[in-house]
């Protein structure tokens, strides 16, 4: 299994542990990743505010680069990258004149997007390509007695027509199924499909912190030992800003937030160091001793 790997900006910036744990887990699972070197930021929905064509061109460029590598599936590790790319691809494939217009912009680099790319998040690759039965065979440290609250991140779910909700029903329950395949217990809590508040963190901090506080509080109230997210932007807010959210709420929460590959790696016997579990703002110490993860 070989994929064109799009790590996104944040796994190479504020959450390096996501990048490292992805590579470690992919190596164990036999997923071959070839990084699309030089691919631009997807725009994260922000550049799209400056006009859709700019964002679509940047993403078409990434798709064309993956095609030039001879690959047809791009693997992402970020809900936001996934959503923005899926939407761009949908628009590009729906209108051949638009695609031709955008390919004109790619000509100076000798690139052309022919429309053959499929974009899949690591979570989708696990369920749809590797398969949960196969994943189970890699579990050497089952997460028994571990209660994990899944937090999806908006862009891996919505808009549902661009995110393949009809073709692949159940994508809004993949995290639960992965947690169960790792022998953990998936915790249901209000907020699992909601927004983490990251996009307005710099613009309306109070509202953003209220969202972080509520989600982490609700996960804790539901008995979760940790939350898991496939989105590094959710991680930046739920983990990085949790101290601030706690202060605003006047409540100690202390909810560890895991990146999806970290959770998978924990069950596969990878070490804390390999998974970068010491690089979080909210301590993972108690969680790791409960889950018997080696240092």
């Amino acid at each position: 299994m070989k994929y064109a790997f799009y790590p996104g900006c944040v796994s190479r910036g504020g959450t390096p542990e996501l990048y490292d744990s992805t590579i470690a887990v992919a190596n164990k699972l036999g997923i071959e990743l070839e990084e699309i070197v030089g691919a631009a930021c997807t725009g994260a929905g922000v550049l799209q505010e400056k006009g859709l064509k700019l964002g679509d061109t940047l993403n078409a460029r990434t798709f064309a680069m993956a095609e030039r590598m001879g690959l047809t599936t791009i693997m992402t590790i970020c809900s936001t990258c996934q959503g923005v790319m899926s939407q761009a691809n949908k628009r590009l494939l729906a209108d051949s004149d638009y695609l031709a217009e955008i390919n004109e912009e790619l000509k100076p680099e000798g690139l052309e997007y022919t429309g053959r790319i499929v974009i899949k998040h690591f979570a989708w690759v696990l369920v749809e390509e590797i398969g949960l039965d196969t994943l189970k065979t890699f579990v050497t440290n089952p997460l028994e007695d571990m209660k994990i609250a899944p937090f999806y991140g908006c862009y891996i779910l919505r808009p549902s027509d661009a995110l393949g909700a009809d073709e692949n029903p159940g994508r809004n329950e993949y995290l639960e199924r992965i947690i169960e395949a790792l022998s953990g217990e998936a915790v249901n809590f209000p907020g699992r499909l909601q927004c983490c508040g990251f996009p307005i963190m710099l613009i309306n901090e109070k509202n953003s912190m209220e969202m972080v506080g509520r989600h982490t509080h609700n996960a804790k109230a539901a008995g979760a030992d940790a939350m898991v997210t496939p989105c590094p932007l959710c991680h930046l807010n739920l983990d990085g800003q949790q101290p601030k959210a706690q202060a605003q709420r006047g409540e100690k929460i202390g909810m560890p937030i895991l990146h999806l590959p970290q959770l998978v790696g924990m069950a596969m016997g990878l070490t804390q160091k390999e998974l970068g579990l010491g690089r979080h703002i909210v301590s993972t110490k108690n969680l790791l001793s409960k889950a018997s993860v080696r240092a």
Binding site: T15, T57, C154
Partner: protein, 318 residues
């Protein structure tokens, strides 16, 4: 088919007891909608069940409720779709709005938001002899917001309204766009200034909830993005929201990828000492864990191909 409903009941005369769930089990024809089923309950089983509906054809917008947690017009929701194998269907009143009784919510909140954006044309200049003429072409991008039936599903699903009732919200902002973009309106500038203010267009998280639940394809969030674009085109760029977009674009155009620390500093304002100091602790924590991107600002490294990305920005960035 067998219908199994769980309905959230609330009686204001017994308000101290709060709400509770009540189950109904009944046999209904396969083609029944959730609304048909609720009406059958009310007519044949429990006349005390309160719900609001009228046209039963997705036109009037009266019957929005949440079905299995999702804001929906119940007249447009087939029971067989949400309960293909007889699963229990959870029907509750809409979120973010005060419940009057059972499934009926108070519409004051919704209309208050819509009224706040002054949802009527304010033409300027001399009144024409006949009607105000607008070309067909100039009205095309108004077709989606004009399709709004004021059902309130987007308001129910909005993740910002859940934490901040002052936010204008998706329905009112989509309505605001409809007038901002109308060529016959004479107060575009004033409208944009109001929308640029607190609790306006910049407070949306872009979570797509409203886009997903809207039964009419209004895509309120996309209209909010249209408003942001118009705000920036009108030169109103001295807000955290606008600075966020500009900084984002500047760093990606320069390096091909995002410069996270600069994005924060630019959005707060480079001389905003209070914010910078207020976040010093977070900076310290991330630094200590080796995850503060130190190559930032003038040291932000260009990735391969960054010059090609810069050229695309030059050609396509407005």
């Amino acid at each position: 088919m067998q219908a199994n409903l769980q309905v959230r009941r609330y009686d204001p005369e017994l308000s101290e007891q709060g709400s509770h769930l009540q189950e109904y089990h009944l046999e209904v024809p396969d083609h029944f909608t959730v609304l048909d089923t609720l009406m059958k309950v009310r007519e044949e089983d429990d006349p005390s069940l309160a719900l609001r509906c009228s046209c039963r054809a997705s036109i009037c917008g009266s019957c929005a409720m949440t079905v299995n947690g999702r804001a929906s017009l119940v007249c447009k929701t087939k029971l067989s779709e949400v309960s293909p194998n007889g699963e229990t269907v959870l029907v509750e009143p809409m979120n973010n709005q005060r419940v009057v009784k059972d499934l009926v919510i108070d519409l004051q909140f919704f209309w208050g938001k819509v009224r706040a954006v002054e949802p009527y044309l304010k033409p300027r200049g001399e009144e024409p002899e006949g009607e105000y003429i607008a070309s067909n072409e100039s009205m095309l991008n108004l077709l989606t917001p004009m399709g709004c039936i004021m059902c309130g599903a987007c308001v129910s699903a909005c993740t910002v309204l859940e934490v901040d009732k002052n936010f204008l919200g998706p329905a009112a902002l989509a309505k605001a766009y409809r007038f901002v973009a109308d060529p016959r309106d004479g107060e575009t500038q004033q409208r944009l200034e109001a929308l640029n203010d607190e609790s306006g267009a910049w407070d949306c998280t872009r979570c797509y909830m409203c886009v997903d639940v809207c039964p009419k394809g209004v895509a309120p969030m996309e209209r909010i993005m249209d408003i942001r674009e118009l705000i920036m085109e009108a030169g109103m760029t001295n807000t955290p929201g606008a600075r966020h977009v500009e900084s984002f674009a500047r760093t990606v155009a320069h390096s091909g990828r995002l410069d996270e620390p600069m994005l924060a500093i630019d959005t707060w304002g480079r001389t905003n000492v209070v914010k910078l100091m207020g976040n010093a602790m977070l900076g310290f924590r991330t630094l200590r864990r080796g995850k503060l991107p130190l190559r930032s600002g003038p040291f932000h490294q260009k990735q391969p191909g960054a010059d090609a990305v810069g050229r695309i920005f030059k050609r396509l960035s407005k």
